[in-house]
């Protein structure tokens, strides 16, 4: 089966402009006749809803939180990349494109990434116009900082709350459209299934999380902007509610799930302190601009107070191994290096699972005030959680699951292989390849929502003129509705002995131990063996109390964990089939003598697309070859 | 674009706009603040007038006569004051009623957060001050408790005038009256400790830096009024001010 990504012809830097020049446009009078369902209200969902509503489409937006402003995009701290070259340090669209492709270990689609780099500058303009208070220099111009994986300063930021400010900008745009009547917002409403009519995505089944009502919504097209699946590991930097349900349900309806094994482990998180822990807290990567990462050279020093370890007994391992990027080496490399030194027994803190991030030199060089101005809120957060002051002793950090590059497969139009199903932001697979660079997630979410989908959605909608409008009373909707209701009742009727969380935690352990920072054939095979057993036990022994007709958080969690229990297996399968190491996917069997990832471009320069083949059947793995017309594949080196 | 430019010169009628402002939360508070300023100015002026007592009977009696000679203008001031007090109380009550319904179910536990005792007792101290003002008017203005005081006359520059000096000395020679007076003014100081500082905030004059300054000044001012006012009964009762005139 051939997979057509519908990439426009022509030279790389002309593809998007020529696409826009010839894109099919829906006339203003016709726009309001099309209803668009948007699931998720993060950067991608809110910006898409705001823009499509503003264009005159009839938009319905859904989120599981109590307000669209709570989506987890809000938690991004560090910044957003854009090829503005305001710092006059040689940045350009091409350089941002190249950094992103290289950062993704040459596993992303050239055309999509170039488009992303192209629109990045517009995002900053748009955000400033809508009132995002980016950091500024004294003269009033925008300030920038550098970020991992880049040698230029192209990251725009708003203190440590960039994601929050960008999301609030998009949220306000969304609410303006709600007031204008073009967007109808359904908060505390969770999508539980996708509805296909004649093979086209035409609606969703949702549960009203307050009344428990399960109902169907129909539309001309569906946009999934539902984020990533990091919570399959139980502990991650994701919000507690983040889940795979929307995208996994779409997968089960036939959408390809692409590259699920590309998971990003963020190097700078606060280490785990116990089993009760519900989530991991990220410390922005921007800390690595001024902080120096080290561990003791000798195992024996690990128990000592950091101040008692002299300079020559410290191993600044990132600076040692990657002299040109040093502490700003990309995330996957930094994370893996941390794991290596901890595996060698040189980790610090409880359980030896931590490395130091030291601001001693920065405080000496810049003064405490400057450090406080740059990172004050992060330092406060660290102190609040750990009870230690990072001004006085180095922070302890450890990698944690943070972002998932994989997601539903989409073409250049951001449409999946199911006609009418569009996927935006972290929920799709498209732009980050095997590893995402810092400050690029915000860029992609907003690019998809503000600047890509408003142009590409016409391609599908134009084929829908004159087609009968989907009807929620028709068989496809009623069947899906009945299936969701049955599943909900089933969850409530098991009444077993284990809580939902205990299953989730166990799945998380399986995933982290076998499919975490380093994976092997053996570990993955073991996980693929264990997960179905756990899933089986779940459906026999989970205890979901309460009723379906009220706010019932156990029921919500149960539905999500049930999907994670299937999805985890898919993730491991993908990891097992990808016999190479690239970006966030590190197979211990495939490494260079000095421990770097060893790619296999001959066999794996493709997107792995998983096609659902039925309950408990092995899914089919399809391939979309990645052809590099402009970029030469190179070994990714940050030395 | 065309829709908004068509209405840009018309807008809504002025009385409607005013009405909306007056009954908005901020409008009501602003009225309470502005009437509060007027009342603070009155209280300040009144105290400065009272201080004439320290310069002997002639000055205070002349001051009193001067006030009475204002004639109809005095009534304008009095009615203005009455209206100010009325508005101050009326809008406070409106605010209070809304505030009381804004939280149908109260918290089961917990101490007030940050809120000062002065702020929390505004309504109580305000009501007490009203009661005191009524007593005070009856006491010294209408003299209904001591009708004989209406005949306290004295000679001033060849004219017969009401001897306010002796009336005040007589009035405050009663320790109970003096105590009530001092307590009432203490409560007024409570009221103003929050009220004066608060009006800077309500009128939008406050900034992050200036708020503590305003609040400190307000508190000093409120208690200065208390000290100023209370000094008179204390001088009479304890230091024997004017004792010789009432023998």
């Amino acid at each position: 089966m051939s997979i057509d990504a519908k990439i426009p012809a022509g030279p790389l830097d002309k593809k998007w402009s020529s696409y826009k020049n010839t894109a099919k446009i829906i006339s203003p009078a016709n726009k309001r006749k099309f209803k668009i369902i948007i699931v998720g209200s993060g950067l991608a969902g809110a910006s898409a809803a705001a823009t499509l509503g503003e264009q005159g489409f009839n938009v319905e937006c859904f989120c599981y939180q109590d307000s669209p402003r709570r989506a987890h995009s809000i938690a991004a701290q560090g910044g957003i990349n854009a090829a503005k070259n305001y710092q006059n340090d040689g940045d350009s669209t091409f350089r941002l494109f190249y950094d992103t492709i290289k950062g993704g270990d040459f596993r992303a689609r050239e055309a999509n990434v170039y488009r992303l780099a192209e629109v990045s500058a517009n995002i900053i303009d748009q955000c400033v116009a809508q009132g995002v208070p980016f950091a500024r220099e004294y003269g009033g111009l925008l300030a920038n900082r550098s970020f991992g994986g880049a040698q230029v300063s192209r990251t725009f930021y708003a203190r440590g709350q960039t994601g929050q400010q960008l999301l609030i900008g998009a949220y306000q745009g969304l609410e303006a459209q709600v007031a204008a009547g073009t967007v109808k917002m359904h908060s505390r409403t969770e999508m539980l299934d996708l509805v296909l009519v004649d093979g086209h995505a035409k609606g969703i089944i949702v549960r009203d999380m307050v009344t428990g009502e399960i109902r169907a919504h129909a539309a001309d097209t569906v946009l999934l902007c539902t984020g990533g699946y990091g919570n399959v590991f139980y502990l991650s930097t994701n919000a507690k509610g983040c889940n795979v349900t929307a995208t996994y349900r779409a997968y089960k309806k036939g959408a390809y799930f692409a590259n699920p094994c590309y998971t990003q482990i963020h190097p700078t998180c606060i280490p785990v302190s116990g089993d009760y822990q519900s989530k991991l807290t990220l410390m922005s990567e921007s800390l690595r601009n001024d902080g120096r990462v080290w561990v003791p050279k000798r195992k024996e020093d690990c128990g000592k107070a950091p101040a008692d370890i002299p300079e020559d007994a410290r191993d600044y391992y990132l600076e040692r191994k990657y002299p040109s990027y040093g502490n700003l080496a990309p995330r996957d490399i930094s994370s893996r290096s941390a794991k290596e030194v901890c595996d060698e027994g040189r980790g610090v803190g409880p359980g030896g699972l931590g490395v130091y991030l030291d601001f001693g030199d920065a405080i000496k060089r810049l003064g405490q005030n400057v450090v406080a101005e740059r990172y004050g809120n992060l330092f406060e957060m660290y102190e609040n959680i750990t009870g230690e002051s990072a001004y006085e002793r180095p922070m302890r950090i450890f990698p944690a699951v943070h972002y998932t590059m994989g997601g539903l497969w989409v073409d250049y139009n951001l449409m999946s292989n199911i006609p009418g199903l569009h996927v935006l932001g972290e929920a799709n697979f498209s732009d980050h390849g095997a590893n995402r660079l810092g400050a690029s997630a915000l860029m992609q979410g907003l690019a998809d929502g503000y600047f890509v989908i408003p142009y590409t959605i016409g391609d599908y909608l134009n084929t829908q003129f004159g087609k009968a409008k989907p009807d929620v009373n028709s068989a496809p909707f009623q069947d899906a509705l009945a299936a969701v209701k049955a599943r909900t009742s089933q969850l409530l009727s098991i009444k077993g002995n284990r809580t939902v969380d205990s299953f989730h935690r166990e799945l998380g352990h399986i995933m982290w131990d076998n499919c975490g920072m380093a994976r092997t054939k053996e570990s993955l095979t073991a996980a693929i063996d264990k997960i179905p057993k756990l899933r089986e036990e779940f459906w026999k022994n989970v205890n979901v109390l309460g009723k379906g007709e009220t706010l019932n958080q156990s029921l919500e969690k149960a539905g999500r964990v049930a999907d994670f229990l299937e999805f985890g297996e898919l993730l491991c399968r993908d990891a097992l089939q990808r016999n190479e190491s690239c970006g966030g996917h590190f197979r211990s069997e495939y490494q260079t003598p000095d421990g770097e990832a060893l790619r296999d471009d001959e066999h794996y320069a493709h997107v792995a697309c998983w096609k659902f083949e039925g309950e408990n059947a092995t899914p089919t793995r399809l391939e979309e070859p990645l052809s590099y017309e402009t970029v030469k594949l190179a070994t990714r080196s940050y030395k | 674009m065309s829709a908004s430019s068509a209405t840009s010169t018309a807008g809504i009628p002025i009385h409607e706009a005013l009405c909306r402002w007056v009954f908005s939360s901020i409008g009501k508070k602003t009225i309470v603040a502005v009437t509060g300023i007027l009342l603070v100015l009155f209280v300040t002026g009144h105290m400065l007038g009272n201080f004439t007592i320290y310069f002997g009977p002639d000055l205070i009696n002349a001051y009193a006569k001067h006030l009475r000679d204002l004639g109809p203008f005095l009534w304008v001031i009095r009615l203005g004051l009455l209206a100010t007090v009325f508005l101050h109380i009326f809008f406070t009550m409106l605010l209070w009623k809304e505030n009381a319904t804004a939280r149908p179910q109260k918290y089961a536990v917990g101490d007030p957060i940050k809120t000062t005792v002065f702020a929390r007792t505004m309504r109580l101290t305000g009501l007490f001050v009203v009661a005191f003002v009524i007593f005070h008017l009856g006491h010294f203005t209408l003299m209904i408790f001591n009708p004989s005081w209406t005949h306290l006359d004295t000679e001033l520059h060849g004219e017969t005038v009401h001897d306010v000096y002796r009336m005040v000395v007589l009035g405050f020679s009663n320790p109970i009256v003096s105590a009530f007076y001092i307590i009432s003014l203490g409560l007024l100081a409570f009221h103003l400790s929050h009220g004066i500082g608060s009006l800077f905030q309500t009128l939008g004059l406050s900034t992050r830096k200036m708020r503590p300054v305003y609040e400190a000044v307000a508190r000093v001012y409120a208690w200065a009024l208390f000290v100023g006012y209370s000094s008179i009964p204390i001088s009479i009762l304890i230091f024997g001010l004017g004792k010789n005139t009432i023998k």
Binding site: I124, Q161, G173, Y276, T499, L545, N552 | I14, I26
Partner: protein, 253 residues
């Protein structure tokens, strides 16, 4: 550590609520308050009782979803959200009373979860800058003095949790509204719509049944984002000036 929890349980928006007492045993002092509740909930479920429903999401202090009043203080002791409160702040053996945010405009949905859609409605009334996608000039075309951008950011830090209204003895949402008015109104991009935004947001706030500000400053004391009540002074000023300008026909709202 061990605690006794007195938790508000309420089956639905229209039913009456009550306090129930649960033990919280063997709680690590590094656990966050919500993790402590997770542990208690797991115990409850093991005992066949429905878990306590409480809102939470990011658990890193930024999404504004968590909304517990702990011993009468929204978000509990210390600055920050409930999710950023750690059990080491409590004493072993403490009795902890947990209530929902109690604000008339935030109806209780179940147990400790409340409906804060009212805050979204305030934003809909004008808490935005109209900037059609794609129509923006270059981001550096209007320099904004650092002090202005910083002050705007101070106000923009609001996480919309509603603790200000929950702490206010009058259930006033003035801190929330004033922060939004200042965040957008201070920036040159937000000036054209500033008067309309201010007036409409205040009117909507009034209509939604929030109380009036009495300058108690309880809001500021509990605000996890450290929003200053000086923004309320600014809002008062701007609102009255805009209303006056509307009255004389100098502007339309």
């Amino acid at each position: 550590m061990n605690f006794t929890l007195r938790v508000w349980r309420q089956d639905g928006p229209t039913t009456a609520g009550r306090f129930e007492e649960y033990p919280a045993k063997n709680i690590p002092d590094e656990a966050s308050f919500l993790e402590m509740l997770d542990i208690v909930n797991e115990e409850l479920e093991k005992a066949g009782k429905e878990s306590v429903q409480f809102d939470h999401d990011c658990r890193e202090g930024i999404c504004g979803m968590c909304s517990l009043t702990i011993n009468g203080v929204p978000h509990g002791p210390g600055r920050g959200t409930t999710c950023q409160l750690y059990m080491r702040k409590f004493q072993d053996g403490d009795v902890i009373t947990i209530e929902p945010f109690r604000v008339g405009a935030f109806p209780i949905l179940r147990d400790l979860a409340v409906n804060r859609t009212a805050l979204d409605k305030v934003i809909q009334a004008g808490g935005f800058i109209t900037a059609r996608t794609g129509s923006a000039p270059d981001a550096n075309s209007v320099p904004i003095p650092k002090v202005v951008a910083d002050e705007s950011m101070d106000a923009a830090a609001c996480i919309g949790c509603g603790a200000c209204a929950a702490a206010c003895p009058n259930s006033s949402a003035m801190l929330f509204v004033s922060a939004k008015a200042a965040h957008l109104g201070l920036l040159p991009q937000g000036k054209p719509e500033s008067e309309r935004r201010t007036v409409r947001m205040v009117r909507t706030m009034d209509d939604l049944g929030f109380g009036n500000c009495s300058n108690y400053y309880a809001c500021e004391a509990v605000c996890p984002a450290g929003i200053s009540a000086s923004f309320i002074a600014r809002l008062n000023r701007q609102y009255t000036s805009a209303a006056a300008r509307e009255a004389v026909g100098a502007t339309t709202i």
